[in-house]
Structure formats: structure tokens, C-alpha cells
């Protein structure tokens, strides 16, 4: 059985990646399973300088999901290269560094400095965090801006550049096209869905920043729809599907919708070895269904005529 998939120029041991912001810097999860089984690890979002993140409460649980507003807390590019990358480099999997900046120039500078680090397989540009005042989503919702930023980051890195799209838009396909026009080699679809939870007794928001990003199985149907729309419009562009994936069958659904790989996110919080369990379940599904190569599933959704 073949689980290996190519993604842009990356060779992935499996279509299972772990999503930025849910897998720390990799090391946190090393006690629970062999990270080399993953196709890639997307790191916590890295900015040029370290960030302290938002006040608490930063997270709250909701029906089949959670809302977070961490605020892109991270150690900064320099410490990442010095303190976090050495472990990741020898983990046996592709290291995809998620990055962002507060300004256009910061994005570009961050991409350039990460590109210079040995052991970085690819960059994932985060233009979709709903939880920060600057950077994050403001560069990710206007197609012309997204194209320009992607192009600028593309020009300073020789590594594959993924763009992680926000679902908080009326037209995901327009954003996908904009990123690809700027030179994106792949798309991560989707980041969290802007959301809110309220404490009825205290009459207060449950998240310090009022709004946060919803993740977990609650958003899976939204993510599937968006992956399918983007894949239908841009069938040649590799997509890494993200959104509430909790089982091997969930992975199959995303691949059928057009994703080449998937990213396990919130489930790694519930269960640190979730990605390994999900990979085992994917293998079991393929065995039962007599599928010898996982690539057969990519985009293989059957939409009956007239639908």
C-alpha cells in the first residue's frame, strides 16, 4: 500500500500533516508517536520578533469544537532557528514553517530569514489568523493585496510557498486564485472560522478578545466545501485540507474533495497521538476498500449528473 504523496516539490511520507498552532514546535508531541510518520509538521506561526500573545481567557470549548484567540504567540524567527529547528530537523519529517508579519515588509523579511535556515522544507504564509490586530487576516481577504504579498514572499524564498487561506470570506476561490497568481505553490484550506461564545450568567464574552477562531469537527463541513470549491477551480494546485479532521474516514473525505494532504489540528489537543491513529485508520480504510495507492483518492469525488 502506498501512502507517500508529492506536494509541490515536497516528498511526503504520508498525506497526514499537523497544523500550525496545534502542534507546538513538534517536540511537545515526540513522546507520543514517531513524527517521521507524518508527511510534514507545520510549526507554530513565526514572526520576526517574539510575541507574548493575547490575555486570558484565550480558549473555550464549544459544541464539537473550540474557539481560540492565542494571538500568534511565538518565540520569534531567531529563537526558532536556534532553539526549535534543530529538533525538528532530525525528526524525519518535512518542516513547514508557518510565518507572518505585522506589515507587508515584515512578512517578506520573515520569509527571507526563514528561507536561510537549514532544514526548512517549505514556508506556509499565514494571512488568515483572525486573532491579531495587525498582520493575520488583513493581508488575506483582498485578492490584489494577497497576490502582491505572495509575489513578494515568493521572490525571497527558493522553497515551496504555501498560502493558508481564511474561510472568513465570501469568495474562497477568488482568494485561492489571488494566491496562485502571486506564485503560491500550494494552498492550505482553511484557517479557523471567526466565532464567538458568551457566558450567559456573567453576560460576558468567553474569550478575552471577544471574537476568536473556531476549530474542530464543528467546522469540517465548511472546510470540505471550500477545499472542493478551490480544487474544482484550480485542479492543478495542491491543497492541504484542514478543518476538524478526527478519523481516517475524514481524511478520505478531504482527499476525495481534492486535497493532496490534510492537516490534523485541534484533535492533537484532545489526543496527542491523534495524527498517528488517523494515519492507521486511513491505512485500514484503504485495505478494506482495496485501494493500493492513496493518490487514487485525490479529487476522486463522484458528483452525480444534475447535481
Amino acid at each position: 500500500m502506498n501512502l507517500r504523496v508529492p506536494f509541490a516539490t515536497l516528498d511526503c511520507a504520508s498525506p497526514i500533516w499537523t497544523a500550525s498552532g496545534t502542534f507546538g514546535y513538534g517536540r511537545e508531541f515526540a513522546p507520543y508517536f514517531d513524527l517521521a510518520r507524518l508527511g510534514a509538521i507545520a510549526t507554530k506561526g513565526i514572526s520576526p520578533e517574539a510575541r507574548a500573545g493575547n490575555p486570558v481567557p484565550r480558549i473555550c470549548e464549544t459544541a464539537s469544537g473550540m474557539i481560540n484567540s492565542i494571538g500568534l504567540e511565538n518565540v520569534g524567527a531567531e529563537s526558532f532557528g536556534r532553539d526549535k529547528l534543530p529538533f525538528l530537523r532530525q525528526s524525519g519529517t518535512n518542516v513547514i514553517v508557518n510565518f507572518f508579519g505585522e506589515t507587508f515588509d515584515e512578512y517578506v523579511a520573515c520569509a527571507a530569514s526563514l528561507d536561510a535556515l537549514d532544514g526548512v522544507a517549505a514556508l506556509e504564509m499565514n494571512v488568515s489568523c483572525p486573532n491579531v490586530k495587525k498582520g493575520g487576516v488583513e493581508f488575506g481577504v483582498i485578492p490584489a493585496v494577497l497576490t502582491e504579498l505572495t509575489r513578494a514572499c515568493r521572490s525571497v524564498t527558493k522553497r515551496p510557498l504555501l498560502v493558508k487561506l481564511t474561510p472568513n470570506t465570501g469568495d474562497i476561490v477568488a482568494l485561492a486564485r489571488a494566491a496562485v497568481a502571486g506564485g503560491a505553490d500550494g494552498l492550505s484550506v482553511i484557517n479557523t472560522v471567526s466565532a464567538m461564545a458568551i457566558d450567559a450568567r456573567r453576560r460576558r464574552p468567553r474569550i478575552a478578545t471577544t471574537y476568536g477562531g473556531l476549530s474542530g469537527p464543528a467546522i469540517k463541513p465548511i472546510a470540505l466545501r471550500m477545499v472542493h470549491q478551490v480544487h474544482t477551480a484550480l485542479p492543478e494546485v495542491p491543497i492541504s485540507g484542514i478543518g476538524g479532521i478526527a478519523s481516517g474516514e475524514d481524511v478520505v473525505e478531504f482527499l476525495l474533495a481534492g486535497a493532496t494532504t490534510v492537516q490534523i489540528g485541534t484533535l492533537s489537543f484532545s489526543e496527542p497521538s491523534a495524527a498517528a491513529r488517523i494515519l492507521d485508520e486511513l491505512s485500514a480504510f484503504m485495505e478494506q476498500e482495496r485501494i493500493s495507492d492513496v493518490r487514487e483518492l485525490i479529487g476522486a469525488l463522484v458528483v452525480p449528473a444534475g447535481c
Binding site: 507574548a52 484565550r58 474542530g216
Partner: protein, 259 residues
């Protein structure tokens, strides 16, 4: 090293309305775990609730462990209905413990509500180690002062308090503590509601006593990945936040600002 494992419910004992102890078997991975450390617990309830719940251990010995739980939210109410023989998913041991009891140190333990769990275990271990501890255990009313026989069985000096005066010394647990401190110069270990712990920290500061607090935070993962359980660092610290899961839950009171 923390481990993911399945544990079996050996007993589910109701202590008072909404307060219960789960006794679990098949907990060999917790061998060597210390009072103040915690586990993340999930029932076999699918994806809703999605996240595991963090509980400080009431004990972990001989492949068994105990959790003292107050049914507050959806997860704890589901755990309250756990049947004997049911399977729970655990992750642990996690976090940093209270300072291990030592014969040459005198500890005063100040517990509020289910914050009793790690401190009762600490008291039991202290007695075993030949260390002297005193327990101050407060609640709003008598029914919420649970596990009293077991507390008495430690042989430690104990001061029970209730805010409504229905049992023990009337008033707050911190008042009982103050009264004893005129005679002693102990280390304070505390676990309970933040308001109570803030008062304990204030007392420790005023009297220049060492003080350790067990801090709760909104926690999704327990292993330093979600960054939900941020606790504000004390002024002047190198970083803005500590994390209850990996830097705590037990902190030297000088390290953090209690929420």
C-alpha cells in the same frame, strides 16, 4: 514521561451533591507521580465534548489513582455518571508537583473546595515521610467539606472552616490560617479558588513565608501546545506568561500573578 492510556473505573463514590471521587485502575503509567501533578481525562463520549479535562490527582499508588471532582460543566457531569467498569482515556502524569514533603520543613496546607485533592495526598505522603503538616480546609458549608474521615486518619492537625458556620471554625479558611501563623513560620502550599489563593499569597508576602500555589487555567492539551492556560508572570519576569500545564500547575507564588 507522560503517557496516553486507558483506565478502568473501579468505583464512583458520591460524597455530596455534585462532588464525587473516581477510583481508577490500570494506571501503572502514573507510578512515581507526585502530589500536585495532574492528568487529562476523556470519557468515551465521541467528539462532544471535544477536549479532555484536567484534574489534579487525589492519589496515585499501586497502579490505581483517584480523582476528586466537582460536577460543574458538561465534561465533569458526564464523568459523574461514569459506571463501574467504564473506560476513560488518560494522559499523564503532567505538570510540576508541590515540593516533596521533608521532615525538616513544616508545611501548612490551605485547601478550598476540590483543591483539597493534591493537598490531602501531600498530607498523606508527608506523614509517611515523617514530616509535620497542618491542613486548613474550608468550604461554604458542611456538606462541601468532604473526605473528613480520611483527613482525620492522617493524624495531621486539621482546621476545618465553613463560611456559614455549619461545621468547624466559622468564616474563611484564611482567617484560621492567620490565627495559627502567630505561632509558626511554615511553608504554605495552597490549592483552591483564586480568591482564596490570592489571600494566602498576600499573607505569605506579609509574613515573608515561602508559598506555593496550584493554578488552574483553561487548558485544551495539557502538554504546552495549545497555550490556552497562560498565567501572567510576576512583574520583572523574562516572559509575559507562564503555562499552568508545563511550568505549573504548582508555582512558587513569586513567579506568577494569580488571575
Amino acid at each position: 514521561m507522560p503517557t496516553e492510556f486507558s483506565a478502568r473505573v473501579l468505583a464512583n463514590r458520591a460524597l455530596a451533591p455534585g462532588l464525587f471521587v473516581l477510583e481508577l485502575a490500570d494506571c501503572e503509567p502514573l507510578v512515581g507521580c507526585l502530589p500536585g501533578q495532574f492528568v487529562m481525562v476523556r470519557g468515551e463520549w465521541g467528539r462532544d465534548p471535544l477536549l479532555p479535562r484536567a484534574f489534579s490527582l487525589l492519589s496515585a499508588r499501586h497502579g490505581k489513582c483517584e480523582l476528586l471532582i466537582k460536577a460543574l460543566g458538561r465534561g465533569s457531569r458526564l464523568l459523574e455518571r461514569s459506571a463501574v467498569g467504564a473506560t476513560l482515556q488518560l494522559l499523564g502524569p503532567l505538570g510540576r508537583p508541590f515540593p516533596v514533603p521533608r521532615a525538616e520543613r513544616r508545611d501548612f496546607l490551605i485547601a478550598g473546595g476540590v483543591g483539597l485533592a493534591p493537598l490531602l495526598w501531600h498530607a498523606e505522603e508527608a506523614v509517611r515521610a515523617g514530616a509535620k503538616v497542618e491542613l486548613f480546609y474550608g468550604a461554604r458549608q458542611e456538606a462541601e467539606l468532604v473526605l473528613r474521615e480520611r483527613i482525620e486518619a492522617t493524624g495531621c492537625r486539621v482546621q476545618f472552616t465553613t463560611e456559614d458556620g455549619s461545621f468547624g471554625r466559622p468564616g474563611r479558611v484564611t482567617a484560621a490560617l492567620q490565627a495559627r501563623l502567630d505561632e509558626e513560620h511554615p511553608t504554605l502550599l495552597t490549592c483552591g479558588p483564586n480568591a482564596m489563593m490570592r489571600a494566602v499569597v498576600e499573607i505569605a508576602r506579609a509574613r515573608n513565608l515561602a508559598c506555593f500555589v496550584s493554578v488552574e487555567g483553561e487548558m485544551a492539551c495539557g502538554i504546552g501546545a495549545c497555550l490556552g492556560c497562560a498565567v501572567q508572570s510576576a512583574p520583572g519576569a523574562a516572559r509575559a506568561y507562564h503555562y499552568a500545564c508545563i511550568d505549573g500547575p504548582v508555582f512558587d507564588a513569586l513567579q506568577v500573578v494569580l488571575p
